[in-house]
Symmetry: C2
Subunit: 344 residues, 2 copies
């Protein structure tokens, strides 16, 4: 049997089983490490539940777990991902993110200093995004029963009146936009994990997209928004084609891809359309709104490299086709799994 | 490098890395296993985020991760726990639970049939409680990087108008009630894990408490509600004493404890006041409301064995004292950790 640790371990610099026991060690961990690290971004208690004022509009609700390895990588960490990823899921409904919850699953022996740094980055990302972490939970499992640290966040946002965005809203004649270069996050993780260097470091694009979506919604009517994370742009566009029962034609040469990502993908035999992003979005909207929305995106720092990359057709419903740079056409299937596990 | 599995594994009866990749395998898992198992309790997509209608009142927000071992035990499973536990956290604010999110972290090799059964129990528990699971997420980590299955749920509930319940609301002169016997969940888990038998099987008390709290709120004004999970009644009452800066005097002989739990605790040298519950609550309220609330509790199936177990005093603020059955008084400190790890 696995009893709680004895008293002297209270000041041990690593997670012990008792930190998940709901007693004094748990309370200390929350009060003296997590709450200060969140830096005033929490309601204070992180207790059983937190009460917040009424929200006038419809609500968007979302959740994601984060298991990325390594925990820290160029451009971010599991902390920023856990905050921005869930914010982005809310933003893709056209919602303004308001509140997050944070659940930690910790492996016995995990360094408290690392936990504090992850929590600090979560607090900082939440503050930057204007979102509050209002409830939390900490569980501890034995050595070898988890891989250091997993985080789950859930989010609540308020929808704008009149917004109706969803993966089944794409219509023939619509235009497809992306907010910037594809593949940065996945390639940064891959290179960090395998210690690869390509003419300088690749950086994750991890960012919160809700301000970009706000300026887009101000500029025109959007039918579909999606952040192409796991499975990359190929998975997102396949999902949209299937949900809306339309065909999508991608103009492959127009998809923005950074030089370093491009050469790394070529070297490793990966398709950048399948590589994950964490700070980019794809939008489907009526052709008449496209210029105004594209211009608005390009004025925003996270949309500087926004581009029109394709169109929606009534032909080949459910299928994503690409016009290749040499004039041919190929079908891009839904990826089966993911080229690289544990990217988020 | 750890690539996604090849095509034939699509019909493999165990979790493969590709089930967490955001591609076709992920979509299949959600569409063909999780959604049917949830049984219409979900919004359909379990996609990035879900939109729900406006909620008029203040909101309660809560989250918990579940890492209990074994996954199935007498009286419940990790599935019922994940639903009822988060419902109870909301109910302890005086809220009516409305929506849940569900995040799964799966270990490569975990049997799909077991996942389906856990999800089915989650759907059933949500249906029984009148709560909808509206958003979800599935991540997969490699063999040995997690212990089978972890679940996170977050919950959103609507507060009754006028309700103001919290751990710092206890006042001298208040009365302490519990809704039933203490220690059932923790002892059931311990016995299931260690294959102990005590004159018949011990069963977890896992249950959703929001209907019980509704009848209590109808019957009188409540100052504090708490579900004594990890750390048991001792941790909950210590927290209340500390948060409210009051003393609590427990009449130990009046704390309801089942015979089997009592004898198991004696045999193992455990204190039932420190053992976790998953379907019980402790309430602190003004003395003049106590009889009406206690009577209302006893009319509800989950409050049949409700009892008045103590009182709040202005003396010894922050301290929980117990009058023992032989007439003495002892201080019951906040437990340091938990006697038994991974009980929820």
């Amino acid at each position: 049997m696995n009893w709680a640790c004895p008293l002297p371990l209270r000041h041990y610099p690593h997670i012990v089983m008792g930190h998940g026991g709901g007693g004094r060690l748990s309370a200390d961990l929350v009060e003296h490490l997590i709450l200060p690290a969140f830096g005033g971004q929490s309601a204070g208690a992180l207790g059983d539940s937190t009460v917040v004022p009424p929200i006038a509009g419809r609500l968007a609700i979302s959740t994601d777990s984060y298991v990325v390895r390594p925990l820290f990588f160029p451009g971010g960490s599991i902390g920023e991902l856990a905050v921005n990823g869930t914010i982005n899921d809310l933003a893709m409904s056209g919602a303004r993110p308001l509140y997050l919850t944070a659940g930690f699953i910790l492996e016995e022996g995990f360094p408290l200093a690392t936990l504090a740094e992850v929590a600090r980055r979560m607090g900082e990302a939440a503050r930057q995004a204007g979102v509050r972490i209002v409830a939390g939970d900490t569980k501890v499992v034995g050595k070898g029963q988890a891989d250091g640290l997993f985080i789950n966040t859930a989010g609540i946002g308020e929808l704008r009146p009149g917004v109706d965005i969803g993966p089944c809203q794409a219509r023939p004649g619509d235009v497809v936009l992306v907010s910037g270069t594809m593949g940065d996050h996945g390639m940064a993780i891959l290179c960090a994990r395998e210690d690869l260097e390509f003419d300088g470091q690749l950086e994750s694009d991890c960012a919160a997209l809700h301000e970009l979506t706000e300026v887009m919604l101000d500029a025109g009517t959007i039918h579909v928004l999606r952040d192409p994370t796991r499975g990359g742009l190929a998975a997102s566009l396949n999902e949209i084609a299937r949900s809306s029962q339309v065909g999508i034609v991608l103009d492959e040469a127009r998809v923005p891809i950074g030089e370093k990502v491009q050469s790394a993908c070529e070297l490793l035999g990966l398709d950048p359309l399948h590589v994950a992003n964490e700070g980019k979005l794809v939008a489907v909207l009526a052709a008449e709104s496209a210029d105004a929305v594209l211009a608005a995106m390009r004025r925003h720092p996270l949309g500087r490299h926004a581009a029109r990359i394709g169109s929606v057709t009534g032909q080949h419903p459910g299928v994503l086709a690409a016009k290749t740079s040499i004039g041919g056409t190929r079908v891009i299937p839904m990826p089966l799994g993911e080229q690289l596990p544990r990217i988020c």
